[in-house]
């Protein structure tokens, strides 16, 4: 284990960090599921308002999705445009 280069260490932990950042996908999943469930219940109670319920539900789901996307962006940054590699002492 003594022959790990600095760069290799940074790359390994960046890959790990990208994986950990995607835990952020749990929250939006739960939130979107709740929104879809409530939307289905609302359509069941009032089938006439189907269009309005659908658009409101999609809007709410898109807003809830944002936090998950922030995690996704962190993962993308770590994988493809790693800012940490440049900070290594040359």
């Amino acid at each position: 284990m003594g022959n790990i280069t600095n760069e290799g260490l940074v790359l390994a932990f960046s890959a790990l960090g990208a994986g950990v950042a995607m835990i952020a996908g749990v929250g939006p999943g739960i939130g979107q599921g709740i929104a879809a469930g409530q939307g289905a219940a609302a359509v069941g109670r009032n089938p006439g308002a189907r269009g309005t319920i659908m658009s409101t539900m999609l809007l709410g789901q898109a807003v809830a999705e944002t936090t998950g996307l922030y995690g996704l962006l962190i993962a993308f940054l770590l994988l493809y445009a790693n800012p940490l590699i440049g900070k290594l002492p040359q």
Partner: protein, 253 residues
């Protein structure tokens, strides 16, 4: 060829020395040739090419629709193409007016229709083999900044100075209000960018990883989800949020 991540041209210039993991997989933005403007190194990227193609499609559609409308005979039933154009215009008008109200809605129909057409075509341009222009943060940030300017222009127009004093209404919450106002364009742009970018990335990885014969038919099903469904939902959401934010400033306090 330089391959950088979506934050062109800043990251593009910084990463120009590094090679992508695989030559065939081009996930980021490729710069085709470099030019200097006011001392800045800029690149002509594949985002520009996709935007030009999308604009070309929109312009051709607009010119053809204009000619068809001009030559339409009001005494006869409209043809298939004219019916389609009418359907598009009417549905955008109906959506805008039902969201923004009878009084202010008609003024914004043109902008919302244009925005929807551009974002939808840009998101689905992956079907044409292009890299979607909305998978470039520069494009989505510009779109969100237009919304930001519209929000505050209309805020000052309808609420005058109340638009500023409204931020300090409960004085304790004023930092949160100000940050909330500034976060609007950032979250708008990142939402569109993240969705389209993740779709593009997954499609590119699939095309690169699978055997060539399989890529002829299997990713077609995924294109339906990532390009068409997700693209339509995201363009709808962007237009809807623009309308909701802008119309939030109409009420006189």
């Amino acid at each position: 060829m330089n391959s950088g991540m979506a934050f062109a041209p800043i990251v593009l210039a910084a990463n120009s020395g590094t090679k992508a993991a695989s030559k065939e997989l081009s996930i980021g933005i490729d710069g085709y040739f470099q030019y200097e403007l006011f001392g800045q190194k800029l690149y002509f990227t594949n985002t520009h090419i996709s935007i030009l193609i999308v604009m070309l499609i929109l312009v051709i559609f607009a010119v053809v629709a204009n000619q068809v409308i001009k030559r339409a005979d009001p005494n006869k039933a409209p043809g298939a193409f004219l019916n389609f154009v009418e359907l598009l215009v009417e549905s955008v008008d109906k959506l805008t007016i039902s969201t923004m109200g009878e009084k202010h809605g008609p003024k914004f129909c043109n902008y919302i229709g244009t925005l929807f057409a551009f974002i939808f075509l840009a998101n689905t341009s992956g079907l044409l083999g292009l890299r979607p222009p909305t998978a470039d943060y520069g494009v989505t940030l510009s779109l969100a900044l237009i919304t930001f300017v519209m929000i505050h222009y209309n805020g000052f127009k309808y609420q005058k100075i109340g638009h500023i004093t409204g931020l300090f209404k409960p004085l304790v919450l004023s930092p949160i209000n100000i940050i909330g106002e500034l976060a609007t364009p950032i979250s708008l742009s990142l939402r569109l960018f993240g969705n389209v970018m993740s779709g593009t990335l997954m499609m590119t990885l699939l095309y690169g990883l699978l055997y060539k014969p399989i890529t002829l038919f299997w990713p077609g099903f995924l294109h339906v989800y990532f390009d068409v469904f997700s693209g339509a939902i995201q363009s709808y959401v962007f237009c809807m949020l623009t309308m909701v934010f802008v119309s939030g400033n109409f009420e006189e306090e």
